[in-house]
């Protein structure tokens, strides 16, 4: 099986879907002539042309708004928001329109859009360009929220996101583009709303996704050397949230740590922990821990920034605390 970077896997998914379906087109800032600020759409403009790879003004409201409108009229737009921090400028379109146009009009409308965007910290971009507000978007019924942690999942989930008739926020992590992994060729469709066990282990269940999957895998290697075997469940989709494999794993290990890059308050961890207590209370052998970003706007200084972000050691410590 070919080994690809996350960037190549995402690019391949987009390319294949555009070849497959003429209704699929891309719009966003610097997606065309520039080739994408993360180089995901490099070569697309020359191959698919300016009608299907549309450079927009720097105006997030109308990027998502026009994508919503085009989707209503039968196209399948992939709107790129350069970073998830800029999605706040399009919040009304995402929350009040993408997520609601179908149910609010009694099912008369279909909004098959994908909002591809990039989140996460760790690149010294300062407080406004480094956020991981995934949970904010997962709050709203009507949206699907997907965030892959491996190249294979990135490809398979993006293809599914483009094909589903519902609006999808597809959140990529800025520091995962160089991560490599085996990616099946051609038609791979990973289902949205299905969690996946990425590592087997008997002692503790780690529930995580996206960048923190990679961090958790590293922590698992370190813990294995100390004789601790963790099982890792990758959520992959935050909405719909598939608790099946999480609960199943927890019933075997009776101990869990939830690892997320975003802030703890009202976050993904809060949701997962609450559901675990609701669905598997009788199996709890230790208080469930959360590992997450410190509750501060992320600083520019590298040392401070890394201090605020969850590290491998933080995960290892939390696992030992629940043992």
């Amino acid at each position: 099986m070919p080994v690809l970077t996350m960037r190549e896997a995402i690019s391949q998914a987009l390319w294949e879907e555009m070849e497959r379906d003429e209704r699929v087109f891309i719009l966003g800032e610097e997606v065309g002539v520039w080739g994408g600020t993360y180089a995901v759409t490099k070569g697309f403009y020359d191959h698919f042309g300016p009608e299907r790879v549309r450079d927009t003004p720097i105006a997030e409201g109308v990027i998502v708004g026009a994508a919503n409108g085009a989707a209503l009229a039968g196209l399948r737009p992939v709107a790129e928001l350069m970073t998830i921090n800029f999605a706040f400028l399009a919040m009304d379109q995402i929350v009040n329109h993408s997520a609601k146009l179908r149910s609010m009009f009694g099912g008369q409308f279909t909004v098959p859009i994908v909002i591809r965007t990039v989140g996460g910290g760790g690149r010294q971009l300062g407080a406004t360009h480094s956020q991981t507000p995934d949970a904010v978007f997962a709050h709203f019924p009507g949206l699907k929220v997907v965030s892959p942690g491996t190249p294979a999942d990135a490809k398979g989930l993006l293809k599914s996101a483009i094909r589903t008739d519902d609006p999808v926020m597809f959140i990529e992590h800025a520091t995962l583009y160089q991560v490599r992994g085996e990616v099946p060729e051609g038609e791979v469709l990973e289902p949205i709303g299905v969690s996946k066990i990425q590592r087997l282990g008997r002692d503790v269940t780690i529930v995580t996704y996206a960048k923190m999957l990679q961090t958790s895998l590293l922590a698992a290697e370190g813990l294995a050397k100390e004789g601790i075997e963790v099982e890792i469940v990758d959520l992959r989709s935050l909405r719909p949230l598939d608790m099946g494999p999480v609960v199943e794993s927890f019933k075997r290990t009776n101990r869990a740590v939830v690892v997320e890059e975003g802030w703890q308050s009202y976050g993904v961890g809060a949701e997962v922990v609450a559901r675990l207590y609701e669905q598997a209370f009788d199996h709890v052998d230790a208080p469930i821990r959360r590992v997450s970003q410190k509750e501060v706007p992320l600083p520019y200084n590298q040392t401070l920034e890394q201090l605020a972000l969850p590290q491998v050691e933080d995960v290892m410590r939390a696992v030992k605390e629940v043992l």
């Binding site: 109308v62 708004g65 026009a66 409108g69 009304d92 009009f105 519902d166």
Partner: protein, 320 residues
């Protein structure tokens, strides 16, 4: 214009007026919840503009949408059923007054966030161009919407991409209770189109034939050259919504405008040009009145949405 078309327009405007009067009564009776924004006084804008379209042209508007829905061909009983939150409403009772739509009539809503449907209009027009359709999108909005970022983003994009959109600003002099001159840096909204290199025109919104003519001319431009901005001067005779104390305008001002009632003016025109006699117009008014009476009955007798419909249509497919 054919005589029959003039009479159709007259009947439609009267129908909208009677619909809105019936809605106000139903609201006061507590049968309509939430917000209710009446179109009374602005009927000539909706009927004039929408009647200029071809069937393939799309229409999208803001929350003062009952008159636009009727002009697009939605039956009054379906409008009223939605206002009463019934299962037989166009949006199955989930949208209410501000969210009327029927894509089969090429009517794309009824949108409740000021300015937010302007980007949607740009997207609808983009889809038509992408697919090679010979369609235009007509997007109506109030003067208040011209001060929000969406307006500028959408007008700019439509001009850069030469999208087939007719932007129609219904300038009724107030954004809720704030007069245009207290909210906008320029007094004519069409001046804002100049910043986007977009041609524009103004029309008298109390004269349905003038609106129709202006919209026809504008749509020709849209089809051949791209976006066009049409500002229509109008006035709402009622408050912004039900329950508006109207402290921001004098009763005398409202009375002056009411003397220039678009329906009264059109009636005088039809009589003066001998297109119709009193009895012809009286008969149309009686028809409209009867249609609204039947529509109210239909809406009131329609079933409530079933409790199990609560979870319907949130997603096309829950997972997958």
């Amino acid at each position: 214009m054919e005589r029959s078309e003039k009479l159709r327009l007259y009947r439609e405007m009267v129908l909208v007026r009677r619909l809105e009067e019936a809605s106000a009564t139903l609201y006061q009776q507590g049968k309509i919840g939430g917000f209710l924004h009446l179109y009374i006084g602005q009927e000539a804008v909706g009927s004039g503009v929408v009647s200029a379209r071809r069937p393939q042209d799309r229409v999208i508007t803001a929350y003062r949408d009952h008159g636009i829905a009727i002009a697009c061909g939605m039956p009054a009983r379906i409008v009223l059923a939605e206002l009463l939150g019934k299962a037989t409403g166009c949006s199955k009772g989930k949208g209410g007054s501000m969210h009327l739509a029927d894509p089969s009539l090429n009517f794309w809503g009824g949108h409740a966030i000021v300015g937010a449907h302007l980007p949607l209009a740009a997207g609808l027009a983009l889809a038509d161009r992408y697919q090679g359709n010979e369609s235009a999108t007509i997007c109506l909005f109030g003067d208040g919407a011209t001060n929000i970022g969406y307006f500028h983003e959408a007008l700019n994009l439509s001009s850069v991409w030469k999208l087939p959109v007719l932007w129609v600003c219904e300038n009724n002099k107030y954004g809720m209770g704030t007069a245009v001159e207290r909210a906008s840096a320029v007094s004519e909204m069409r001046q804002k189109a100049e910043g986007y290199s977009m041609p524009s025109a103004r029309a008298d919104g109390m004269d349905v034939l003038a609106v129709r003519q202006a919209a026809e001319t504008a749509l020709e431009q849209v089809r051949s050259q791209g976006p066009f901005f049409l500002e229509v001067a109008t006035y709402r005779f009622r408050g912004h919504s039900m329950g508006d104390p109207e402290r921001y305008r004098a009763g005398e001002e409202v009375r002056r405008w009411q003397e220039d009632d678009p329906i009264g003016r059109f009636r005088q025109h039809l009589l003066g040009t001998r297109v119709a006699a009193e009895k012809d117009l009286d008969a149309l008014e009686a028809e409209a009145q009867a249609e609204i009476g039947e529509a109210v009955r239909f809406a009131e007798e329609s079933p409530e949405p079933a409790p199990e419909s609560l979870f319907a249509d949130v997603y096309v497919e829950e997972a997958g």
